[in-house]
């Protein structure tokens, strides 16, 4: 079925790819260990006990190969090319472009561990996708033996994930092959993973892989769930959000659901759903957790899924009682003082007269 918004959407998407929220996936490691990560946009939909994880790998030009490692909550039952407009349509829903944007269109000793077990291999455009199962050492060794140069924080980060879920997706992107295929700079290759799992979680800590403490991680995470999800960390909570901002939280509109359902592989999208957008803007060294989601309606996201204690030494964020007590103390002292001053001046005291 042809949709009237599609030409508009395609043009807008082209703009969005080169404009602020470039579509890419985290943890891109070049041959020199550099991380070529701009802003990440991912989508995690959860319905009928299945997570649909969609992310995109952007062709940023140049040559050679680089790769990405993404932790997964469980073994995917299917890995396929994502639809052409799911991520762009979500961006359009929550961040409609300003009118003047249209005028800029067109610029658009013996090893102690074995390698990880390969569960699935597939090729999508210029991407070689491998689903791995193994501990941090096994996955790291597989990556090393397959040409990934992992940054120095990789051993700890891989263990952080492998201790909870030993499933990883490695994506090797051949920029020369992409260029040979005619992919232009800015073209993204969407990947759609279908993952049966109890509850979805979104890996965030991996986005800081290879970044120094002075760098920031910026990412947009879209969630589509049957009910309003409970999240940990809670982006809505005062001083508990840990660099997360709840940018959108509302029932998904009928046009959005219809448009998403019309994309390739998205027929699972239900008739009613809740759309959430979480914006991550955090110093890399502070992003030492993931986003746990309870989509069941019970309101109880797992601290383990988020990477907090007791799983790790990373303490669970709690309401800043000390700050509340301090504010109360200030109020207790300040209010009587202010009232006393008002009483001394009188209710209509004006500014002091000039000398």
């Amino acid at each position: 079925m042809r949709r009237p918004w599609r030409p508009f959407l395609a043009a807008t998407a082209a703009l969005l790819i080169t404009a602020a929220p470039a579509l890419a996936c985290g943890g891109l490691i070049g041959p020199n260990g550099a991380v070529n990560l701009l802003r990440t946009t991912t989508f995690a939909g959860y319905h009928d006990g299945v997570e649909h994880y969609v992310t995109a790998f952007q062709f940023a030009g140049g040559g050679g190969a680089f790769g990405s490692i993404t932790p997964l909550p469980d073994i995917p039952s299917k890995v396929e090319r994502g639809g052409d407009w799911t991520l762009q349509r979500l961006i359009l829903e929550t961040d409609p472009p300003a009118f003047e944007a249209f005028r800029t269109l067109g610029g658009v000793e013996a090893a102690a561990a074995d390698e990880a077990e390969v569960l699935l291999e597939t090729t999508i455009d210029a991407l070689d996708i491998t689903i791995l199962r193994g501990g941090g050492d096994e996955v790291g060794l597989w990556a090393k033996n397959h040409g990934f140069r992992l940054p120095p924080d990789a051993p700890e980060v891989l263990d952080f994930y492998a201790d909870r879920s030993p499933i990883f997706m490695a994506a090797a992107f051949d920029a020369d092959a992409a260029a040979a295929r005619g992919q232009a700079v800015g073209d993204g290759t969407p990947v759609h993973l279908t993952i049966p799992t109890d509850n979805p979680w979104v890996p965030l800590r991996i986005l800081g892989l290879g970044k120094s403490s002075a760098e920031t991680v910026q990412a947009d995470v879209y969630l589509l769930t049957d009910d309003k999800p409970a999240m940990l960390p809670n982006p809505e909570a005062f001083l508990e959000a840990n660099g997360l901002l709840l940018d959108h939280s509302a029932p998904a509109t009928e046009p959005l659901l219809t448009d998403l359902r019309s994309d390739v592989g998205m027929e699972w999208v239900p008739d009613d759903a809740w759309l959430t957008k979480v914006v991550i803007d955090s110093p890399a060294d502070a992003l030492d957790f993931d986003l746990a989601i309870d989509a069941s309606g019970a309101g109880n996201p797992s601290p383990v899924d988020a990477g907090y204690a007791p799983f790790s030494g990373n303490p669970l964020p709690r309401s800043p009682i000390a700050v509340y007590l301090l504010l109360m103390a200030v109020a207790i002292v300040a209010v009587p003082v202010a009232l006393a001053r008002v009483a001394r001046r009188g209710p209509f005291a004006g500014p002091p007269a000039a000398a």
């Binding site: 550099a34 102690a112 990556a143 090393k144 120095p152 051993p155 290879g210």
Partner: protein, 134 residues
């Protein structure tokens, strides 16, 4: 001298020679473990003029280096492009999840650093210090 006392004296003399020789030159062993891209320990003291065998245990699934020397030495390696080390005792590459040994005798007292010069590893904190006694 009695028949019993003679072998005892000879044995004691031989033991004394062996002990003296050991104090002079017998190698000492220092084990340095690499875990989560960090050296352990990060402070070592060794005597001057004694061969020190370093056992470098890489517990990480990524490669590391162990290069030890003064600041001029490290500055050269910060901008170097060596793919690997090994022919020189104080420049060692340690592959992922492997153990490498190297033996060095420090003739001059002082304090030198050991650093991994793979990209961004030093910035990440892969630095340790060795003090050579007088």
């Amino acid at each position: 001298m009695s028949r019993i006392a003679c072998p005892v004296v000879v044995s004691l003399l031989l033991l004394g020679v062996a002990t003296t020789a050991g104090c002079a030159a017998s190698p000492q062993t220092v084990t340095i473990t690499i875990h989560y891209s960090g050296f352990d320990p990060t402070e070592i003291s060794v005597p001057r003029g004694v061969p020190i065998t370093f056992v470098l245990v890489n517990e990480d699934p990524i490669d590391h280096e162990w290069l030890i020397g003064d600041e001029a030495f490290h500055q050269k390696h910060r901008t170097g492009t060596h793919a690997g080390h090994g022919a020189v005792p104080n420049e060692v590459s340690i592959p992922a999840l492997q153990t490498v040994t190297t033996t060095i005798t420090f003739d001059d007292p002082g304090r030198v650093a050991y650093i991994c010069h793979l990209p961004s590893h030093e910035e990440y904190g892969m630095v340790g210090w060795l003090t050579v006694g007088k």
